[in-house]
Symmetry: C2
Amino acid sequence: MDKKQIYKPKPVSGFPEWLPEERLVEQQWLDHIRRVFESYGYTSIETPAAEEIDVLTAKGETDKEIYTLTRLQADEDDKKEARIGLHFDQTVPLARYTAMHFNDLDFPFKRYAMQKVWRGERPQLGRMREFYQCDIDVIHVDHLPLHFDAEMPAVIYEALSGLDIGRIQIGINNRKILKGLLHYLSDENQTLFFRILDKKDKLDKNVFDNQVADFLRNNTENETAYNNANDDLNTLFSYRDQLIRLPLSEQISKLREILIGHSTYENYQEIKQDTTLPKFKTPLPEFYEGLEELVFVLTNLQNLPEGSVVGDFFLIRGLDYYTGTVYETRLLDIPEFTSSVCSGGRYDDLAGSYINKHLPGVGISIGFTRLFDVLKHNGYIKTGRKCPTDVLVVLPSDDERTNANTVAHTLRQNGWNVEVYHAPQKIGKQIAYAEKKGIPYVWFPDSSEVKNLDNGEQAPVDPNTWAKDAS
Amino acid sequence: MDKKQIYKPKPVSGFPEWLPEERLVEQQWLDHIRRVFESYGYTSIETPAAEEIDVLTAKGETDKEIYTLTRLQADEDDKKEARIGLHFDQTVPLARYTAMHFNDLDFPFKRYAMQKVWRGERPQLGRMREFYQCDIDVIHVDHLPLHFDAEMPAVIYEALSGLDIGRIQIGINNRKILKGLLHYLSDENQTLFFRILDKKDKLDKNVFDNQVADFLRNNTENETAYNNANDDLNTLFSYRDQLIRLPLSEQISKLREILIGHSTYENYQEIKQDTTLPKFKTPLPEFYEGLEELVFVLTNLQNLPEGSVVGDFFLIRGLDYYTGTVYETRLLDIPEFTSSVCSGGRYDDLAGSYINKHLPGVGISIGFTRLFDVLKHNGYIKTGRKCPTDVLVVLPSDDERTNANTVAHTLRQNGWNVEVYHAPQKIGKQIAYAEKKGIPYVWFPDSSEVKNLDNGEQAPVDPNTWAKDAS
């Protein structure tokens, strides 16, 4: 062979790719998630990889690093064209899509999206520059029923529990609960305060408590307001610590207790007359609205296995724009996966930056590639076959070629994935090829026999009736 | 609602997206193509959207317009990193992938890829900046059996004929045939000459004939060489005009005639002794090699429907790097689609730019989005449903919610895609929702009856036994 100029390529940091046997598992996972999404009536949309920079930044500053696109051989014409960049999530494109195609869509619009997104961040394990997200969202005009807030965890539970990644726990909260207690704080300060609350697991308890108290003290009008806010928060969080240890049905009862007497209620005032119940000093009606919504959502999820759903007042999702229900999902049996694998929530106004319509929505997103990557690096992904082939038809001689092709065709029509071996080599070599690639069956066209490579059994089979389901 | 600052987004030229009902058809098409690819044992790989610019340009100048990526908020660190750009096809990434993972792959390596690629070209109907390609390729080390040259058209015929786009015709040629006749020309001049031949359909016959004659005259050593080359070409092309009107089995016989006496041959010399056969004056052995390979490929495709495969010496694919078999595919019933929908061929050396191995391959690529886009714009795509939902479970009242959810769960387990209506509204309104979205069945959980919206029939059904296949 000639000596040639060789450019030895290096992996591009943050842009993962898998070997064929790993990709087969990834495909099974993506197929399963898609099947679950569709089984709840979500419809696929796929948006371009690129959007106008003005669209990507229409909501104001983003903390996501955007990749912009420039033609390598740019010319004068390029300057006249819109500047474009790769999308960094699937929500901004959904908002743009919904605004642009508003008159062609049916509402409530239930859509799923399973695309790659790109962020120019510094890569590390579990944080990549290119990754799949698997999202479902429901958008409606003006008013979106709570039904969908309860549907999200049901879909996600089914999607994730089919991936062989152990026990799933979906934490659910409602932003209105805290907002109804923290009305002393401006909207802006509430957001800042949520960021502090969000760090609870990362900080020492005393440091955390001090940060909370300091923030409240510095941002409430007077001592009374500070005391009320602080007491209400402590009451809520001590209730939370009881809650999360209980079975779901008892969590729901506890939440109802706050709302009502012991079983029914007519209005939020009743609670003040029941001395056995925890007292909140200065909640706004929004607080009880949030509790009611949380009770509705949890009640509709009681058919899921015990422990897979938990109400959690400490679940904040600090930096996001959610206005009601919020979700986070933990993998209880994968200690290496410490953060949320699937998060989301309800937002009031999806596409207000692009259209003069009020479009509330609720959505949830699986950080798919992050999940797959972390599990792969920690040895949780079991790979098997290196190709989708079920049956290798051997080629004893060139004379058998037509016969081999005919059998292969018949087997494919019965649902099998079939290769005909590519040359009339020694049968042992052909079988070795099947073994190496993990192909489970070998077909001998001259004798019409099939050999099961798992157990070594060989028997004559009629190709017309050998159905894949029967194997 | 508040008056807000609204940025009305515009479609980004060359980056197509579809409405949900169109996307459903696109998904069916992509699913079908994937199923066919896998049924022949091709395994999926997915490479990152971005490659190093040095990888994309390693083979020298490319006529494809590359998009480079730059972080919007670029900093000093960026300068230390590799320059990257979006891939413009799936072959360069395959070459890079095969070189990089060489020791982890099994050969022959049969892979399929169905990803988007990007080219910064001026957009027009059927030419986009972002589009799907659906590729299969087989790569082997040192020697790749002809078996795979014959497999490509079989796979593609099955993939395309399942898309309801009318009759398919796959034209097949072998580059060695012309190269074996045109050995008077340097490699470089052969490529230039192929470009002229490639324009046959676009030029007036006299203009074309003159260009051919002029090129040969200017690039052959002497009058004898010119005459021989010109005569041999004319003999070949007049044979071609007979060939393409014949049934495949007769095409094969005609090709064999050139090679042999009338039925068998021992060596290429025999042809010189048969005075009834067309005479080529100065072919190299490569000419007969090409013919033999073409005969092998066509012979193995005789089980496809008559007219779907044709041998065609005029099929050139002028600008590409093929060395043997070449393919093009026409849609006979879609006059608006004038170019090839699916092309490819055999190449000698896939990854020589990245690894010191000799890796011959053969591959073929469906220009998927181009096909879909042209068909859509000409009204050939029939859309139906706007969502994947098969059954809408109505919600007569909030009391029926648990019951409705339970039925929905059961139906999903039986393979149905099911929505529960999102609020206890009037039944008429719920049915109207199903009709608008094209959902075929409505389920009444209070009576356990199902209504078929196509024919209006309504009957009680057991949700446990109502299987999707039986509908």
